[in-house]
């Protein structure tokens, strides 16, 4: 069974997914940070594939990507860094990135290697559902890699149903019309949207992301979904202090009662 499904079998609430950029803050940090996140009690890890033109990301993730690229990070190197992933990390690991580096790597080879190193799912925000179904779905399924789709407050109900149909693992519910790292409190408008989706009784679990930065926003989001995703706030933490202890206390500050 895919590790993502295992998580949701065991845990229906307060699933914490943390994002960080591969090769940030130091090029060799990828595996160390993944291990520290698992030790700290995170449920799912999302590793960003650095890209030169990440249009869905705000300045924090852009800077971390550029930083990693400048240090020589690449998808090829990331796959090498992840070779021993499953010796040390047991929780689900998802790769998040943009489609172009994946296409240059070779799509089939990418899926093959994801399976080989133990990647459970992929988030490619600029891969549209139509292209996914027509061109890529078969290969994803052949290698057992879940493609995670996004929905936003602007996504029509009809499309949410289609995405639910095409989804595996979970649906990434973007909390507001924004790029990543937008800091804001959760508004009534967002709560209406969360409740509206909640009432649709989708068959796939949902995690809320974008604008989740601390215990308060995490707790709030968890009322409307199985859990939430933290990205930019964790990158900011890594920028300040990326020691295993600092990672542990950051995660603790979110999940501890």
């Amino acid at each position: 069974m895919n590790r993502i499904n295992e998580v949701f079998l065991k845990k229906k609430k307060r699933v914490l997914n943390i994002y960080f950029t591969a090769g940030y803050p130091k090029i060799d940090d990828t595996l160390r940070i993944a291990r520290a996140l698992e030790a700290a009690g995170v449920d799912i890890i999302e590793i960003g594939i650095p890209y030169s033109d990440p249009i869905a990301d705000g300045p924090t993730i852009q800077d971390s990507s550029q930083n990693a690229l400048d240090a020589g990070m690449s998808l090829k190197l990331l796959m090498r860094q992840l070779q021993d992933l499953r010796k040390y990390v047991n929780i689900p690991v998802i790769l998040m990135g943009y489609i172009n580096p994946v296409l240059q790597y070779g799509f089939t080879e990418f899926c093959q290697n994801c399976k080989k190193v133990g990647i459970d799912g992929v988030i490619l925000p600029d891969l549209p559902m139509q292209e996914y179904i027509e061109i890529y779905q078969q290969t994803f399924e052949k290698y057992g890699i879940y493609n995670i789709f996004l929905i936003t407050p602007q996504t029509s109900k009809q499309r949410v149903l289609q995405i639910n149909e095409a989804s595996k693992g979970f649906i990434y519910m973007v909390s507001s019309a924004s790029i990543t790292g937008a800091k804001q409190e959760i508004s009534q408008e967002q709560i209406d949207y969360f409740e509206c989706i909640q009432k649709m009784n989708l068959s796939v679990e949902r995690l809320i992301g974008f604008g989740i930065s601390n215990k308060e926003t995490f707790d709030n989001a968890c009322q409307y979904a199985s859990g939430a995703i933290i990205g930019s706030a964790f990158i900011n933490q890594l920028k300040k202090n990326n020691s295993d202890e600092a990672i542990s206390s950051f995660v603790g500050s979110i999940i501890n009662p």
Binding site: S52, D53, I55, P101, L103, Q104, D126, Q154, T155, V174
Partner: protein
């Protein structure tokens, strides 16, 4: 290649294998809204009437198709210059911005955003926003803002807000990224006026349609002047490719017309400092469409170089990628030096100082055989904005 081959976009937004709409879910509702409505809006008689009225009385169309006598004599051919440089704001860009602002109004949008490299599209956008009394935000790379100061001031005079793109290389591609991010953050009340035949479907098609007025006019103007509505060859420069798309548009399916695209080779195609995408690019996805682009083997978009800021773009519109692959158009790489000399040549032979983008198209005359042919060159813009570059280059 068969004469029945169709070079227009298909219903899925593709030109051959290029095109599509590779955008995050956050932008898809906007893109769907455009996809579902653009043709219907553009085909309305009231829309057409207002578009053509503004092109005539505001932009100054039709622009002349001028038989360049001295140049024709030099190359022993009939060379016609399509004078887009005489459009209001000094380049073809305004054809598209007039069309898109009318489209934005039809979609009840309140605000306009745009990206700009050299500032020409930014000025053309700020101009139509002033004309329509709409709020206007222009994203421009911080590096370009320094290089193109007069255009920054022109946009400000016209009432636009200029925002510096500080990410990545701080040039055109980053300004485009920032504009897309802005659109993600303001999805309902804002229309994004893309300046070239790039971006997710339907942008390449709608920009090409607005620019197609260029070849529509060439047809009737040639008919008046030589008694047939087509030349043997059309030459245009290509950065993203909007002026070329407009000049080629009504000839795409007419195989008797040779299409020639001039790309900016910068210091040369065997040099790192270049922007000749069909020579140096590979298939990939940039700014929402599958196309040819300059990138590293790892899929990171590389920073192009050309003396002409308007051609300094790492990609090419999907239509042009298809014209290249199918060999419907011939692509020519023109270096900085060749373009500058061609700009001087046109100035001296015909009294027209062209934009350096256009000078790349002029330079093609030195590269291919045109004897006894009827040739149309699209003079996409005037050279006033490039005076500093001409002066710095200095060899005249």
């Amino acid at each position: 290649m068969t004469s029945q081959e169709n070079y227009k976009v298909n219903s899925n937004g593709y030109y051959g294998k290029y095109g599509g709409a590779y955008v995050p879910e956050m932008l898809l509702p906007n893109i769907f809204e455009l996809q579902e409505n653009y043709l219907e809006i553009m085909n309305k008689s009231s829309f057409k009437k207002e578009f053509h009225y503004l092109l005539r009385d505001y932009v100054g169309r039709p622009t002349p198709l001028y038989l360049a006598h001295r140049m024709s004599e030099k190359y022993q051919a009939q060379i016609f210059l399509k004078r887009e440089d005489l459009c209001h704001t000094g380049a073809h860009k305004v054809n598209n911005t007039i069309g898109q602002i009318l489209l934005a109004k039809s979609l009840h949008k309140k605000k306009i955003i745009a990206e700009t490299g050299a500032g020409q599209h930014g000025v053309a956008t700020a101009t139509v926003c002033a004309l329509m009394g709409m709020e206007c935000i222009i994203y421009m790379g911080a590096v370009d803002m320094v290089r193109q100061r007069p255009n920054v001031e022109r946009m400000k005079i016209l009432g636009a807000e200029i925002r510096a793109a500080q990410s990545g290389s701080k040039t055109l591609k980053d300004a485009t990224n920032e504009a897309m991010r802005h659109w993600i953050n303001h999805p309902t009340d804002t229309h994004y006026i893309i300046g070239s035949v790039v971006g997710p479907h339907p942008y390449p098609d709608l920009v090409a349609r607005f620019q197609s007025v260029i070849s529509e006019e060439i047809k009737f103007q040639l008919n008046e002047q030589i008694g047939r509505d087509y030349p043997d060859m059309v030459i245009a420069c290509v950065g993203g490719g909007s002026n070329a798309a407009g000049a080629f548009y009504h000839y795409l399916d007419r195989s008797e017309v040779q299409l020639v695209a001039a790309e900016a080779a910068g210091l040369g195609i065997d040099h790192k400092k270049s922007a000749a995408t069909t020579f140096l690019g590979t298939e990939g996805i940039l700014h929402g469409s599958k196309t040819l682009l300059m990138q590293t083997p790892d899929g990171q978009v590389t920073e192009p170089y050309s003396i002409s800021a308007g051609l300094d773009y790492p990609g090419i519109g999907p239509l042009h990628a298809h014209l290249f692959d199918s060999e419907r158009a011939f692509f020519c790489a023109v270096t900085d030096e060749e373009a500058m000399h061609a700009g001087i040549a046109l100035s001296r032979l015909e009294g027209i100082i062209p934009a350096i983008e256009t000078a790349h198209a002029i330079s093609v005359l030195e590269k291919i055989e045109i004897k006894d042919k009827v040739v149309v060159i699209n003079v996409s813009g005037r050279g006033d904005k490039d005076l500093d570059t001409y002066i710095t280059w200095g060899k005249y």
